[in-house]
């Protein structure tokens, strides 16, 4: 019961936020938090719940971003049409990447995903049809509402909120289904899970594909809001790391972990940039780096684990010491 009360309060706050803090920059910050929360929650499905630390999720993010901008720049359609297109491409790609790489353990899986992401970035950088290094632009002067190019961040905010709720619902539903049960078993010990009859490979692949689809949506939304994608901002490895860090900081494998991570890191980044960035002394990143280090040092399971009693999460991600 208490759970539901708190859920209602959070929902009410989330809905009221852009009306209470209504300056354009605050609204945009809110929208950005939600956007990164979507991406980090999507990553959480495979990185947190399945324990497969993908550092190449930007590939799927890029699928969505390029599909959205491509449908406008190449076909003159609303970027919205890119969302289903991006999902299809991302899921297909996830299957192609996932089958060979998901059998790799721990660090090798992470490295393989980095290699895939970098390969994709290099290919797109050299593909003229995808704008090569120049990138693709969206509609700067919207033709109609479906071009999703707004002056105010308010429409983006509520759109992102809706998508985040759907993402979290899917995640919640998944964790309570048979698939979630398998995933937890696999994360604890893949060998044990297999011997108990859990279809480990298939489950991991499904989780990977689901995660890819949702990540692609976040990429499409990102590109629509900024009206632009290029290889660095759509496929750069730093975006993968950023998504991963948000989830890990809030608490990977926890439903609200990524949201908490995004709600801390996005404002931290933007506000420290606003205050310190113009001085040009690199202090933004000194502060940013120091905070991340401190959290990793004192709260390795993520901030939310502080409250959930999973402080010493022993569910290592397949990369820990041999017992």
């Amino acid at each position: 019961m208490r759970r539901w009360i708190w859920l209602t309060v959070v929902a009410a706050l989330a809905i009221a936020y852009p009306l209470l803090l209504s300056s354009p920059f605050q609204q945009r910050l809110g929208a950005l938090v939600l956007l990164y929360a979507i991406a980090a929650s999507a990553w959480n499905i495979v990185g947190g719940y399945a324990g497969q630390v993908s550092v190449g999720h930007v590939v799927f993010f890029g699928c969505g971003a390029y599909a959205a901008m491509g449908s406008y720049a190449k076909f003159g359609l609303s970027p919205l049409f890119g969302i289903p297109g991006g999902i299809v491409i991302a899921v297909g790609l996830a299957a192609i990447i996932g089958v060979p790489t998901l059998r790799l353990s721990g660090h090798y899986f992470s490295m393989a995903t980095i290699a895939v992401a970098e390969t994709m970035r290099l290919i797109v950088t050299n593909t003229d049809w995808l704008g090569a290094a120049v990138g693709l632009s969206g509609p700067t002067v919207p033709r109609n509402v479906f071009d999703l190019s707004f002056l105010s961040s308010l429409p983006y905010y509520y759109l992102f909120l809706l998508v985040l709720v759907i993402t979290l619902f899917i995640t919640w539903w998944m964790t309570n289904s048979r698939m979630g049960f398998y995933l937890r078993a696999i994360k604890d010990s893949e060998r044990a899970a297999r011997s108990l009859g859990a279809p480990a490979s298939r489950t991991k692949l499904y989780a990977y594909m689901l995660s890819a689809a949702l990540t692609s949506v976040s990429g499409a939304l990102y590109a629509m809001m900024f009206g632009f994608v290029d290889p660095e901002s759509g496929l750069g490895i730093l975006i993968s790391v950023k998504i991963l860090i948000m989830a890990a900081l809030g608490g990977a494998g926890l439903l609200f972990g990524p949201l908490v991570g995004a709600a801390i890191l996005v404002p931290l980044e933007e506000i420290s940039n606003s205050w310190l960035g113009g001085k040009g002394a690199g202090l933004t990143f000194v502060v940013y780096g120091a905070i991340i280090v401190l959290i990793a040092r004192f709260q390795p399971g993520g901030l939310l684990s502080l409250f959930t009693g999973r402080k010493k999460s022993k569910s290592d991600t397949g990369a820990g010491h041999a017992p």
């Binding site: 090798y108 290919i123 991963l244 040009g280 991340i292 959290i295 004192f298």
Partner: protein, 287 residues
């Protein structure tokens, strides 16, 4: 034509040796402690800046800069181990990525804050010019780095396989609890491993500084090369890193010359992925 190819291959081998040199530290901690050090490239960067500071303050080339960079970075390694690594090792792999990535930003932008963003460079020919053998040209500074790479690899390999310190370190890597029961202190061993790894990385940075440019963000460029080298060689395998480094160097050089440089990284990554498919434990990693 074929003569140019020889130059390309020789250049690639020397480049590969440099890759191996700055990857050996990464493979050591990665293999021994299962730590993914995202700040590795920035350790190389620190080594480069130490060498540069030594040069501007005291003059002198790598003879002074390299040992000092080794010492300074070894100290940094120990400090980082006790302040951060010891604790995040106990957490999940994600905490390690989080911690070392934060450390990377912290190091990179502390240097940025202190030295500014300008590109720095050692004076040309600080090690001695370029040797020409029958038209084949080899830069002295690269040759020095290549030779040191071989020595460091050999040294680390012997240390791990032939000395009691090495056996103790491997014992800790294998099974901490058992090692502890045998009277080995895991903390000490791992701190030593970090000192060695960071020291080797600092040495690499100081030697690379002789022919590369120096800038706070240089670690980003070098870090990813080290990651690929180490994964290809097998985590924890020092000889593996050498072979992988040489292989990558030659592939990059050859593909850059033959099919265009913008594709050379793609070739390396695709090869790496294919390799993982057939041999998931890396070139010389244990199955």
């Amino acid at each position: 034509m074929s003569f140019v190819l020889v130059q390309v291959i020789v250049g690639g081998l020397l480049l590969g040796a440099v890759y191996a040199l700055f990857s050996s530290g990464l493979t050591l901690v990665w293999g021994m402690m299962n730590i993914v050090n995202f700040a590795h490239g920035d350790f190389v960067m620190l080594g480069m800046y130490v060498a540069y500071v030594v040069y501007t303050l005291m003059g002198g080339g790598p003879i002074l800069g390299a040992p000092l960079a080794t010492l300074v970075l070894a100290t940094v390694g120990v400090v980082v181990y006790f302040a951060l690594i010891r604790d995040i090792m106990k957490g999940p792999m994600l905490a390690q990525i989080l911690g070392t990535f934060g450390l990377a930003l912290l190091l990179r932008y502390s240097v940025f804050w202190w030295f500014g963003a300008n590109f720095l460079s050692m004076p040309p020919n600080i090690v001695g010019g370029t040797y020409a053998f029958a038209g084949l040209r080899i830069e002295a500074s690269r040759l020095l780095a290549g030779v040191v790479a071989l020595l460091v690899t050999l040294g680390l390999h012997l240390l791990l396989t032939r000395t009691s310190l090495g056996s103790k370190m491997l014992a800790v890597a294998e099974d901490q609890t058992a090692a502890q029961l045998m009277g080995i202190r895991p903390d000490t061993m791992q701190a030593i491993a970090w000192a060695i790894a960071a020291g080797a990385t600092g040495l690499a940075g100081a030697l690379i500084a002789n022919f590369f440019y120096i800038v706070p963000t240089v670690g980003e460029t070098l870090g990813i090369v080290a990651f690929v080298t180490v994964s290809l060689g097998g985590f924890g395998s020092v000889p593996g890193a050498l072979v992988a480094g040489l292989l990558i160097g030659v592939i990059e050089s050859l593909s850059g010359y033959l099919i265009g440089a913008i594709y050379k990284d793609i070739v390396v990554y695709v090869l790496f992925l294919l390799f993982l498919w057939f041999r998931p434990q890396g070139l010389m990693g244990k199955a």
